[in-house]
């Protein structure tokens, strides 16, 4: 009430005050469903991108983002040239595409896990992020997507340099666009699932978990046919490799960009050829295999994340800084 007894004017109400009509808006406690999720995701992506990129000027950031995947590709190209003397251009495409895609995987796999570790150990904000009204999983995915964006930039530049400078034989007219779109969508989902799985593990672990994503990525690098065909590995290891979605994703992207290129899965002595009697998987087989292995990885990641989330809440792990 004001001094003359008239009712006070309603505050301006688009912030935290009551609604203009004076009642209680139940949506504020229930949340606004997709609108809130979309907002949380967008803010998390923006925050993640700024955390990744605002430490320096854009030019330096660009160099830093590209140097790592490009150097990895160059190491393999020189190794190839040392042995073959440039006589195997199809292998050059194989290693350049593989190492470019791996930059993408590394950033995706480590992005979610490092979000947990960064916020818990370095910035000590994880508990506040967790209790905020935003959906925690959505915030995590948003931060992970920002890191994937950095990886994607490195991968794209590496591919471009591979084609323009390193002489990778590339015909844009021969790109299998439907296959590329499908495997990229499924592949990114699979990469995020693996990242989520590692984030769930890092929620439980104490100090020095920073190496876990890199160790997991290193192991996957070895069995996914990224820079060498699976056929050089022992049979049981090839079988494990065929069970991971990344193997099919890398093969799918390679096949869509270089339809006549070397297959990382098939080959005369490969397990795939022995079992299926087919020289190399067809695009349809690649899509189905990626869908199945990706679905298994996603379900496993979701289950492990839920269990880890419950346990972390129960034991106060979000509030715990281990000093690493």
């Amino acid at each position: 009430m004001t001094a003359d007894g008239s009712p006070a004017a309603a505050p301006a109400l688009d912030g935290l005050g009551s609604p203009r009509w004076g009642g209680f808006d139940p949506a504020r406690t229930r949340g606004r469903g997709w609108t809130d999720l979309r907002r949380s995701f967008a803010v998390a992506v923006r925050l993640g991108w700024q955390m990744e990129a605002n430490w320096t000027d854009p030019f330096l950031f660009f160099i830093y983002s590209v140097a790592k995947p490009l150097a990895s590709a160059l190491i393999l190209v020189v190794m190839l040239d040392v042995i073959s003397g440039g006589a195997k251009p199809e292998y050059r495409a194989f290693v350049v595409v593989g190492s470019a895609l791996w930059a993408f995987v590394l950033s995706g796999v480590s992005g979610l896990a490092w979000m947990i570790l960064d916020d818990r150990e370095r910035y000590r904000m994880l508990k506040y992020v967790y209790v905020s009204p935003s959906e925690f999983l959505v915030v995590m995915l948003g931060r992970g997507v920002a890191r994937i964006g950095v990886g994607a930039m490195g991968a794209a530049i590496t591919l471009a340099i591979g084609v323009v400078v390193l002489g990778v034989p590339f015909a844009p007219g021969r790109i299998d666009l439907p296959l590329l779109v499908v495997v990229m969508v499924l592949g990114v989902a699979a990469i995020l699932s693996i990242g989520l799985l590692l984030a769930a593990i890092c929620m439980q672990t104490r100090q020095e978990s920073w190496s876990y994503p890199e160790a997991a990525a290193g192991a996957l690098f070895l069995i996914s046919g990224v820079v060498f065909p699976l056929t050089v590995l022992p049979g049981p290891i090839q079988a494990i490799g065929l069970a991971t979605p990344l193997t099919w994703w890398v093969e799918g992207v390679r096949r869509s960009l270089f339809p006549d290129g070397v297959s990382s899965i098939g080959g005369p002595a490969s397990l795939f050829t022995q079992v299926t009697a087919v020289a190399a998987p067809t695009p349809a087989q690649i899509m189905v295999a990626l869908l199945v292995t990706g679905a298994v990885a996603t379900l496993a990641a979701a289950a492990v994340f839920r269990a880890s989330d419950r346990r972390a809440k129960d034991r106060g792990l979000f509030d715990q800084t281990t000093g690493s």
Binding site: W55, T56, Y64, A67, K68, P69, A71, S72, L74, I75, L76, V78, M79, L80, D81, V82, I83, S84, K88, Y91, V95, Q207, E208, S211, Y212, E214, A215, G218, A219, F221, L222, V226, V227, F228, P229, T231, V232, L233
Partner: protein
Amino acid sequence: MTTVRTKPLPGRNAFVYRPTASPQAAAQWTPRQVAMTNLRTVIGRAYPRVTGMFREKSWVFFEILLPFLATSAFVFVYRALQAPPQYVGFVVLGGAMTAFWLNVIWMMAQQLWWEKSQGNLELYFAAPMNIMAVLFGMAFGGFVMSTTRAAAVLIISSTLYGVSFSIDQWALLIGVFFLTLAALYGLGMMLASLFLMWGREAWHLTQLLVEPVYFVSGLNFPIARLGVLGSVAISILPLAVGLDAMRQLAFAGAAYPIGTPPPAIEAAILVGMVVVFLVLSRWCLAVLERRARREGALSVRWQ
């Protein structure tokens, strides 16, 4: 009023009680006291690294596993290309040396910045010791730690992938190995001061110094293949010149691309690098200390 003089504790005579005329006189240490304090600093800073090897078991696992996985991947690349067997040996030797490089950039170059972020750095500067002794302690502890990792990677990979070494000049090989490490850790000591000045960029710079340095150092292939770039790397990067010399010595008689200096010359280059990096690290540290005192920024975290 009587003064009660307590009996000095055994083994601590130099520091416990020393009657002096003034605080200024008390601050005048004898050369023995200075030397002993710095020696204790070296041991004290090396201690957590050496002891930590056994206390944090996950470190042992990951620091052996990661270089081993990377080494294995490159071994399989050469196998897929049906390369001569000595190339597998080159990769294994390079993989073992990554343990030292990773230690130098993560636990030497980045260390002072990390200490600043944790709030310890101001204590280092306030303590009555030479910061060079802290860096030497870090280097010594890191050397012991990394040697175990490198030896594990070398033994496991050599056994698993059937690498056979052919060594004629053992003394020179051992000499080159230790010179390489001395130059590497000298470089790490220098980078520690620089990274501290670069602040938040340090972490990203550390990331940048992995794969690109592996490439220009010829970690998985003979560096002679890189031509001029390889020559430049040999003249500034201890990893490049040391690895090339060790490969020539450990695989004597193997077909090897010519174009790099013989091992004895490369050993001389390493000696020069050791001297230059140690002098530069001392100079960088002095500049840093002066700047830190002037700007008072030692206790400002996360910048």
